[in-house]
């Protein structure tokens, strides 16, 4: 034991064990950026953006989504600084909202994230594997590969490959944190390198070169002399309308697509208990991830528009998604291969996209697992769900359970036309976030004894507690995106039948809580105590 002064600091420390916080700002940034899934953002923005929102400025939509997500992150930063513990919105909600609501919004949130695990697996096949097989088949004149590219997006192969990806995620998570981190480290590093490769490829290309190459490859395959122009002309004939001007409404609506992956930038709220210098680290980690992803997307969008042509991307996407006109695969991975006439570039860029999309799956899967284990600890879920494998030290029951939920969602997504057309659960998740951010506005007033311990307790903005202002801004931003999603039938919308799904998840959450509460009561356990602060008499 030795007592030491820490230089100019007015504190005397002794040597004592017990680390509490470990992850720093850079670590938090990497964690969040991985969960933003930069590649998934590029793929979805470039596929759906020009196709369904003609005239929507991709650059401004990305900036709009980035700005809104930064405000949401600001609100969550004040939450996680005030309650720096792992568990995400479940922890925050349980400190101010009734336990039934806290559990329900947590269930709604993880239902959405698990659903998006299935969507990511679906996109890996649709936007990664299939285009790569198809284009390599074109370039090498291998009909088998071309057919394989079409075959993998048939329902059963798609379901089987997607389920295999989701199962792989479960196996990796169940194998232990160390193995999971090793896999993610490799995947993240390769994805970054391959994204840089994509940017370099685009920087070196030109629209003239792309048009020439595209026509020379696709002309013989489609039996058309100028397929590039034919794609555009047929899209216009079939209803894709763009007058060449920027449309502000379309810009607003298309921002749903960059916003969707950007939600990952706030996922470090799930590991708040493991982050040191929580205010600085979470600020750098969340806002850094938002900024970095936004900048990369803006660069790629500008380059893609310049090289491939906005009109062509929109037309090709529209034709494919609507099943009309001259159909070619519009994915960026394939077009990068066309630009370079290189099967290798096509494969590498596709791998980059696949790896980015993969980053989402175990990351979101873990989010769900952590929440379920937390419920189990609080006895609002079956005790078995929190059981830890003595061999692997992982919550295997929760991992396997959520893995089957993922596969079930995959099944619904592939085989049900109803579910294949929705990503409406994102609305439920944004609404859940909105509720917690809204509650944060009042937290300093309703829980002053907790808030006064927060490092931001004395900071004011316009005479109001910083948390109140930050959460108000986050609430407005999350409400803005709730209504943006509501107004966009492509990204989410408000089809009454689909809204029933959102309502159904909320109802299931409430029913689950009250069923568990009654069960525990019969066992002599008051689950509400797990949510309450012990009063000091």
């Amino acid at each position: 034991m030795s007592d030491t002064d820490t230089g100019d600091q007015r504190i005397f420390l002794r040597k004592a064990s017990g680390l509490i916080r470990t992850a720093g700002g850079l670590d938090t940034f990497i964690y969040n950026l991985g969960l933003v899934s930069v590649g998934l953002g590029i793929a979805s923005i470039m596929l759906y953006g020009p196709a369904y929102y003609p005239g929507g400025s991709l650059v401004w939509s990305i900036i709009l989504a980035g700005g809104a997500m930064a405000l949401i992150a600001f609100g969550f930063i004040t939450w996680t600084v005030t309650l720096p513990r792992s568990g995400g919105i479940y922890v925050f909600g349980s400190r101010i909202l009734p336990p039934s609501i806290a559990l329900t919004i947590s269930l709604v949130e993880i239902t959405a994230w698990l659903f998006y695990c299935a969507i990511a697996a679906y996109w890996i096949v649709l936007l990664g594997i299939s285009p790569a097989l198809t284009f390599v088949g074109y370039l090498t004149e291998n009909e088998g590969l071309v057919n394989a590219g079409a075959w993998v997006v048939e329902p059963w192969p798609l379901f089987i490959i997607g389920s295999a990806i989701l199962t792989l995620s479960g196996i990796i998570l169940a194998s232990g944190m160390r193995f999971y981190l090793l896999v993610q480290k490799i995947v993240f590093s390769v994805a970054i390198i391959l994204t840089i490769l994509l940017i370099v490829v685009l920087l070196q290309g030109s629209n003239e070169e792309f048009v020439t190459n595209f026509n020379s490859i696709m002309g013989p395959i489609l039996g058309i002399e100028s397929p590039y122009q034919a794609v555009i002309d047929s899209a216009r004939e079939n209803g894709w309308l763009w007058d060449g001007e920027t449309d502000s409404k379309q810009t607003w609506l298309v921002s749903n697509w960059p916003f969707l992956p950007l939600v990952g930038a706030a996922f470090s709220i799930a590991i708040g208990g493991e982050i040191k210098s929580v205010e600085r680290s979470q600020t750098y980690g969340m806002l850094g991830a938002v900024f970095c992803a936004t900048v990369i997307w803006v660069i790629v969008a500008v380059l893609c528009n310049s090289v491939f042509g906005y009109e062509f991307l929109g037309s090709a996407g529209y034709n494919l998604l609507e099943g009309v006109g001259v159909q070619v695969d519009p994915t960026i991975t394939l077009q990068a291969g066309v630009l370079t006439l290189s099967p290798l570039i096509c494969i590498l860029v596709s791998l980059g996209f696949i790896f980015w999309m993969w980053m989402w799956i175990p990351g979101m899967h873990t989010f769900g697992v952590r929440a379920i284990v937390a419920w189990s600890f609080d006895r609002v879920a079956p005790e078995a769900w929190g059981r830890i494998s003595p061999k692997r030290h992982t919550p295997v029951v929760a991992i396997v359970f959520t893995m089957f939920v993922n596969i079930f969602f995959m099944y619904l997504f592939v085989f049900s036309e109803f579910f294949s057309n929705i990503v409406i659960l994102i609305e439920a998740a944004v609404l859940a976030w909105s509720i917690v951010l809204g509650a944060g506005i009042f937290f300093p007033y309703m829980r002053p004894h907790i808030y006064e311990k927060s490092p931001i307790a004395k900071r004011k903005i316009l005479g109001l507690p910083m948390m109140t202002v930050a959460c108000a801004l986050g609430f407005i931003a999350s409400q803005f995106y709730f209504w943006t999603l509501w107004s966009d039938p492509v990204a989410a919308g408000h089809d009454p039948q689909q809204l029933m799904i959102v309502a159904g998840v909320f109802v299931i959450g409430f029913a689950f809580y009250f069923a568990m509460k009654m069960l525990r009561k019969s066992q002599g356990i008051d689950v509400t105590l797990a949510f309450k602060e012990i009063p000091i008499e």
Binding site: M1, S2, D3, T4, D5, D8, Q9, R10, I11, F12, L13, R14, K15, A16, S17, G18, L19, I20, T22, A23, G24, L26, D27, T28, F29, I30, Y31, G34, P84, R85, M177, R178, L181, L182, K185, F188, G273, E274, F377, D378, R379, G386, I388, P390, H393, I450, E452, K453, P455, Q523, G524, I525, L529, A530, K532, E533, I534, P535, I536, E537
Partner: protein, 327 residues
């Protein structure tokens, strides 16, 4: 329920234990701990080791009447007595030891490690004494015992204070009887990189566990109150440190290692006690089974003023429920 066989748990009245550990000087956590008995309806309070904190905060009075102190990584100026009192309370709740000194005294302490050391011990002993007084007031006439054992960070000087306090049952390296159950008390920890107060090698622990286990008459109703958790479990998983005692990261996540006791794991596997209650690893919050033995580490987030605990109900030779709490 009529189909449930009766008597499999060995009978006897249920015992509800509230267990928390690693409060590290946090006064608000200790007060919550004492009040937890009534709040959660516990019959017995068990405080794992590491009651003592890690830092002294000198509040240095300046010639102009203000005070210089340290908070959140920087020097702060306190202008009034009320501000000093508020700062002191806030710091105490986080587990620090604030003390008002003159600037000259601060400068002298700064350059004299021995004086710092003595000051540390005095403040730690004073804090433990205050806690004992508080527990005495609150638990008097309730019949609820407060049982505690030392952790590796605890100065030996607190032993006398705890041993002489009414309502506090301080036990170390012994087996005692608690409401019809046997409790095996073993504090300290395995060797740490910080060279703390009470550390034992695995060989020493093996000897101690062998000796203590031999005193237990019925392992089916025995509770291991052991500060260090069993090795190779989620209860002892903590961040890996490099040679400079900095956490090793991979992909933004801390790399994990195990820091528990292999001798304890062996003892639990061999003797299969009813329950193991542990602390030491703040990040190791969880509940596991080693054979029939249920082992629990409630973890600790004491700087936030939030008390993490475990509400455990045992009946006969069964653990009927474990509820991890955050209050």
């Amino acid at each position: 329920m009529f189909w449930k066989k009766k008597g499999k748990d060995g009978g006897g009245d249920a015992l509800t234990i509230f267990f928390a550990s690693d409060l590290h000087g946090s006064t608000v956590c200790f007060k919550k701990f004492v009040n937890a008995a009534k709040f959660y309806g516990a019959n017995v309070l068990v405080m794992g080791g590491d009651s003592t904190g890690k830092a002294v905060l000198p509040i240095a009075k300046q010639t102009d009447g203000t005070y210089l102190a340290f908070e959140l990584g920087s020097t702060v100026t306190l202008s009034t007595k009320a501000e000093v009192d508020e700062y002191s309370e806030r710091s105490s709740n986080k587990g620090f030891y604030p003390i008002v000194v003159t600037e000259d005294e601060f400068q002298e302490l700064k350059t004299d490690p021995d004086k710092q050391h003595q000051l540390f011990k005095r403040l730690v002993v004073d804090r433990v004494a205050e806690w004992c007084d508080y527990a005495g007031q609150k638990l008097k006439d309730t019949g609820i015992p407060l049982i505690t054992s030392p952790g590796n960070d605890d100065f030996f000087e607190i032993d006398d204070v705890l041993s002489n306090a009414p309502c506090v049952h301080y036990h170390e390296m012994e087996v005692t009887e608690v409401n019809g159950y046997e409790m095996l008390h073993c504090g300290g920890s395995t060797i740490t990189p910080w060279d703390t107060e009470r550390e034992y090698s695995e060989e020493e622990y093996k000897t101690k566990f062998d000796e203590l286990a031999a005193k237990v008459t019925n392992m089916e109703r025995c509770i291991y109150n052991v500060h260090v958790p069993p090795y190779g479990t989620v209860l002892d998983t903590c961040p890996m440190l490099d040679k400079d005692l900095k956490v090793v990261f991979e992909m933004g996540n801390p790399v994990s290692q195990n820091a528990g006791s292999k001798s304890l794991t062996d003892s639990i596997e061999k003797h299969q006690p009813l329950l193991g209650i542990h602390g030491h690893i703040h990040e190791g919050r969880g509940k596991i089974n080693i054979g029939r033995t249920v082992c629990v580490n409630p973890g600790s987030v004491y700087p936030e003023g939030i008390l993490q605990g475990a509400l455990i109900t045992v009946k006969g030779s069964k653990v009927k429920g474990v509820n991890l709490t955050q209050g």
